[in-house]
Symmetry: C2
Subunit: 303 residues, 2 copies
């Protein structure tokens, strides 16, 4: 190819808004990874496919993420506050020991753990402000948030199981319970495999590379499942709570029905925001962000 | 930068499995888009970040998509067959005219339209076999499948509204109905804006570029919403159908309960498969795929 003119070209990319994919960057002589740097000398900086300055594009992207993230935090807090208010205002508050009040922990802990904390943990790597920092502390935060979410979910499941035992109601019969228990089981598996695959020092890099796409995709799928479980659970609870006794019933839309339905809508909106933050390729942590490389535990699998 | 050694580097990419992002390709002198091609001469072919041959990687990616796509088609057919069997075997089949049998069209048409046909329409551009072909016919197929899905959903909503009118039951009171009607409204808006923005000849390219990310992300969000609406709807119907009358009740898990719950699980599995096909960046139609450029109607907005 000597004496031929050549051009750098980006391969087909599914993320056109991430362009420019290629830039020419200056390095000190001999510092680059190239085997023959002297053969790649050029005389001027070239930017290929650069519709706007990268800094401006990144700033705008980080800003829009920040707005969505803040909105998700507000929605998440509203979901937790809302489910606590629903249980305490219309259903007598909280207790343990197999009483009917113990059931009230179930929606509170599932929404707090499996929806809100899970969603906040899932988007940790998407926060642009963290990209300039070492990934390991954020990986530990991701694992810690998910562990807290998992523990709350397990206690939430125990709450309803014990009430069903105490009141002699069969367990795991409704579609809500089937979807909910599947979601919790997938979440637990995901957490155990995630810690073993990405945090244990003995986990080889090849395994990490293999696991990462599955971890990301299963993590996103769990958001959909937890939203479906929450919506069906709130709907079921409102049918049971407002289906007997004196009017008004669920179909008359008394204040509890409007509040519960609105809580379900908030949960769906929170799930959609998490989905948006996970899906937009602009908000995926760049693989070139700082990473430690001196031991498998501290290595980053993102290359 | 003259006299400095330089290196080509890929900017941080969120899709490491799509690498190599940059290749050096040969062109005839003066044929490239660069204004000063003579300043970009290099002496050898360089491939940056190329862990495996692109053809092999693409073949493997297309194969894994094919397996998921076939599985989704089988699951989708099972969902449609299952909801038809549920309505006909346990609820007396189908009729129109405000009778109770008219309700049976509701789950059948919503699952067929808003879940299965919607999901099939959403992944049309992801089919790797179509990437060698002009995009316009696939765009028309995408719009046509979505129109059919929308029409079935609207008829499905009309079915339940008329039954509620005939039986003097309030409409849109449950969380299921709130999520369902929101999903249908977003879907209708998405379809109208999609046709106006991407198919009408008068739609400018700048508008298409602006709309595309929102269209893709809202389209993915609707999958989560339709799954949540379906799961809560099946759960609600099973509670109503098996909550009164002689045992066995829902909590005793009679055959209808097991069948309905399994149908809900199939719908969730179908939704997760669609989510996976939409989310994996490997399966996004490359922007370099063939496109017509001689009129706005036939132009492609993907650049």
């Amino acid at each position: 190819m000597s004496k031929q003119q050549v051009q750098w070209a980006a391969l087909p990319s599914p993320t056109p808004d991430l362009l420019p994919l290629c830039v020419l960057i200056a390095t000190e002589p001999g510092s680059g990874p190239s085997a023959e740097p002297e053969k790649q000398e050029v005389k001027q900086e070239v930017v290929v496919n650069a519709p706007e300055p990268p800094d401006r594009s990144r700033m705008s992207s980080a800003l829009s993420f920040g707005v969505l993230y803040l909105l998700a935090l507000v929605l998440g807090l509203a979901c937790v506050g809302g489910v606590c208010f629903w249980s305490s205002h219309w259903h007598g508050g909280f207790a343990w020991g197999g009483s009917a009040l113990q059931f009230n922990w179930h929606p509170v802990l599932m929404v707090t753990g499996l929806v809100v904390l899970y969603g906040c943990g899932a988007v940790v790597y998407r926060i642009p402000l963290t990209w300039g920092q070492d990934k390991l502390p954020w990986k530990r935060l991701h694992a810690a948030l998910m562990l807290l979410a998992l523990v709350l979910s397990i206690v939430g499941l125990r709450a309803v199981f014990e009430v069903h035992d105490a009141e002699n109601i069969p367990k795991l019969y409704s579609l809500h319970s089937w979807i909910g228990i599947t979601t919790a089981a997938l979440f637990a598996t995901q957490w155990v495999v995630g810690v073993a695959g990405f945090l244990l020092p003995c986990s080889p890099m090849a395994l990490r590379r293999l696991l990462k796409p599955a971890h990301v995709l299963l993590g996103g799928s769990i958001v959909t499942l937890s939203v479906a479980a929450s919506v069906s659970g709130i709907n079921e609870k409102l049918i049971f709570a407002l289906g007997k006794g004196p009017p008004p019933r669920y179909k008359d839309l008394p204040p509890e029905a409007v509040f519960g339905n609105s809580l379900g809508v908030l949960i769906v909106a929170f799930g959609v925001l998490v989905f948006l933050m996970l899906s937009n390729p602009k908000w995926q942590r760049p693989d070139s962000a700082p990473e430690r490389t001196y031991s498998p535990l501290l290595q980053d699998e993102s290359e």
